[in-house]
Symmetry: C2
Subunit: 245 residues, 2 copies
DNA sequence: CGTTGATTTGAATATCCTCAACGTGCGTGG
DNA sequence: CCACGCACGTTGAGGATATTCAAATCAACG
C-alpha cells in the first residue's frame, strides 16, 4: 500500500499534499529549511486507500498511528454502550485524525470514509522521536492538538448553546472556511455526508436538518440541490449566529 | 506569589500536589528516576492564588503558561460575540487548564475560580524545551492532551445524544470518578458550581437541572441538600445512561 | 431579622422530535 | 432505453421534552 516511493527530498519543489496539515496558516508558516522538511516528511510512512464506507480505525483498537487526510473525507463517531452513535467530527484533506488516542494509545472513535479516500499514516513512535529533535515539528504538533481542542470547545458551544438553525448555519460556514483554507471554493461545494450524519454531528434529527436546509433555501441564504450547496448570502447566514442583531 | 521555595529535589519523598497531573493513572505510572522527576518539577514555576470569582486567564490573552489546579476548582467557558456563555469544563486538583491555547498561543476560554483556589503555573517555553529532553515528560503531555480530546468527545456525545436526565447522571458520575481518582470520597461531595453553571455545561437551563436533582432525590438515586451531594444508588444512576435496560 | 442571591416548584409555551407519507435521483437489469 | 427498486431526502401533523415566565422558599450574611 506504500504509495510514496520517491524519497522525500527529491520532490521538495512540489509539496506533498500531506504536508498541508503541517503548514496550515494557523500553525507554522511554509518555508522551513529543506533538511527539516525532509525529516518531517519521513514520518509520513505510507498512504492508505479507503473505500467509501470503510473503516480507517475503530474505537478500542490499539493505536500505533495517527492519520492525515490526503484526499476525500472521513467522519469520526463515538458509540455508547447502548448503541447510540454521535459524530464528533468530519475531516477533509489536510486534517489529522486519531489524535485523541495519544493518551491511552487506543483509538476512541470509529473513523470511516465518506467517499473513496486516501489517508497518510504517521507512525506515533516516529512522530514522537522526530518531534524531540525538531522543535518546529514539535510546535506544529502542539498547534494541531491545540486547534483540535479549540474546535472541540466550539462544538460544545454549538451543541450546548445554539438553536437548530444557528447550528446548521455555523456548520455550513465552518465547512466553507475549511474548504477555502484548502484552496477550494468557499461558496459552492458538495456535502459528502447525509442529512442524518449532519444531524448526528449537530445533535439534531435528519428531518430537522432537512427542514432547515429548505428554510435557508427559500430565505435565499443558500441554494440547495441535494448535496450540492451554494452559499448565496453569506452575511445573512453569519447574522443567524448573532440572534440579537 | 512564589510558593515553591524549596528546591524540588529536597522534597522527593513527599510528592508535590501538582505532580498529580503528571502521575494520573491514565498516564505514566509513578516511579520515574528521581533526576527526571526533579526536572519535571522544575517546569512548575510558581503557585498562584486565585480568589473565588477571580479570573485565572481570559480568552484572547496571549498565552505563555499552562496551569494545573493545585487546590480548589475552576470553570472554563467560551463566550460568543453576542454574549452567550457556555461552560466547557470544570477543573479539580490535578487537572490541567489552558492547553487549548497550544496552537495559537492565545487562550480561548475564560477560566475562573469557583472557590478560593491555587493553580500551578507552567511556562510553555520551559515545558516545550523540557519535553524535548525528557521522553517520559513528552509522553505525559501527550497523555494529558489526548485525554482532554477524549473528554471533549464525551462531552459532545452528552450534549448531542443524551436526554437531560442522562446528562445530569453522567455529570454526577463523572465528578464522582474524578474525586475518587484524587483520593476523595466518590459517594459524598460538595458541588462547587451553581445550578446555572451545571446547566450551562450540560446545555440545560438551571430550572431543568434543579427539577432533575429533585427527581433523582425522590427516586432515591441521590441525596441532595443544596450543593451537598450523596450518591445513594450508583447502579440506578448508571443505568440511566443505558436507556434500553 | 431583613436583604440578597440561589434554588425550588408550577403552569404555559416553544422547539425539536416522532411517526408517517410522499418525492427524487440513481443504479440495475430487463 | 426504460422501468423498477432502493436509498436518500422532503414535508406535514401531532406529541414530548425542555424552556420561559412567574412566584414561592430557602440559606447566608450583615
Amino acid at each position: 500500500m506504500k504509495s510514496t516511493p520517491t524519497p522525500a527530498a527529491t520532490q521538495m519543489d512540489k509539496p506533498h499534499p500531506c504536508d498541508v496539515c503541517f503548514q496550515s496558516k494557523f500553525c507554522l508558516p511554509i518555508g522551513l529549511p529543506q533538511a527539516e522538511m525532509g525529516r518531517i516528511r519521513d514520518v509520513i510512512q505510507a498512504t492508505v486507500r479507503v473505500q467509501k464506507g470503510e473503516t480507517l480505525f475503530s474505537a478500542g483498537q490499539p493505536m500505533t498511528k495517527v492519520y492525515s487526510v490526503h484526499a476525500g473525507s472521513f467522519k469520526s463517531y463515538v458509540t455508547s454502550p447502548d448503541g447510540r452513535e454521535q459524530i464528533v467530527g468530519f475531516h477533509i484533506p489536510g486534517e489529522m485524525m486519531g489524535l485523541e488516542g495519544l493518551g491511552q494509545h487506543t483509538y476512541f472513535t470509529d473513523t470511516v470514509a465518506l467517499e473513496d479516500s486516501e489517508a497518510c499514516e504517521i507512525d506515533l513512535r516516529a512522530l514522537e522521536t522526530t518531534t524531540r529533535d525538531l522543535p518546529s515539528l514539535q510546535h506544529q504538533l502542539h498547534c494541531i492538538v491545540g486547534n483540535k481542542l479549540v474546535r472541540a470547545q466550539q462544538d460544545q458551544f454549538s451543541l450546548g448553546s445554539m438553536h437548530a438553525d444557528e447550528r446548521l448555519a455555523r456548520f455550513l460556514l465552518d465547512l466553507s472556511e475549511r474548504f477555502k483554507a484548502r484552496g477550494l471554493s468557499p461558496d459552492e461545494f458538495v456535502l459528502r455526508m447525509s442529512r442524518e450524519e449532519i444531524g448526528s454531528y449537530l445533535g439534531l434529527k435528519l428531518e430537522t436538518v432537512s427542514r432547515l436546509m429548505s428554510k435557508f433555501h427559500s430565505a435565499g441564504l443558500i441554494h440547495v440541490a441535494q448535496r450540492q450547496i451554494r452559499i448565496t448570502d453569506r452575511r445573512a447566514l453569519a447574522e443567524l449566529l448573532m440572534p440579537q442583531t
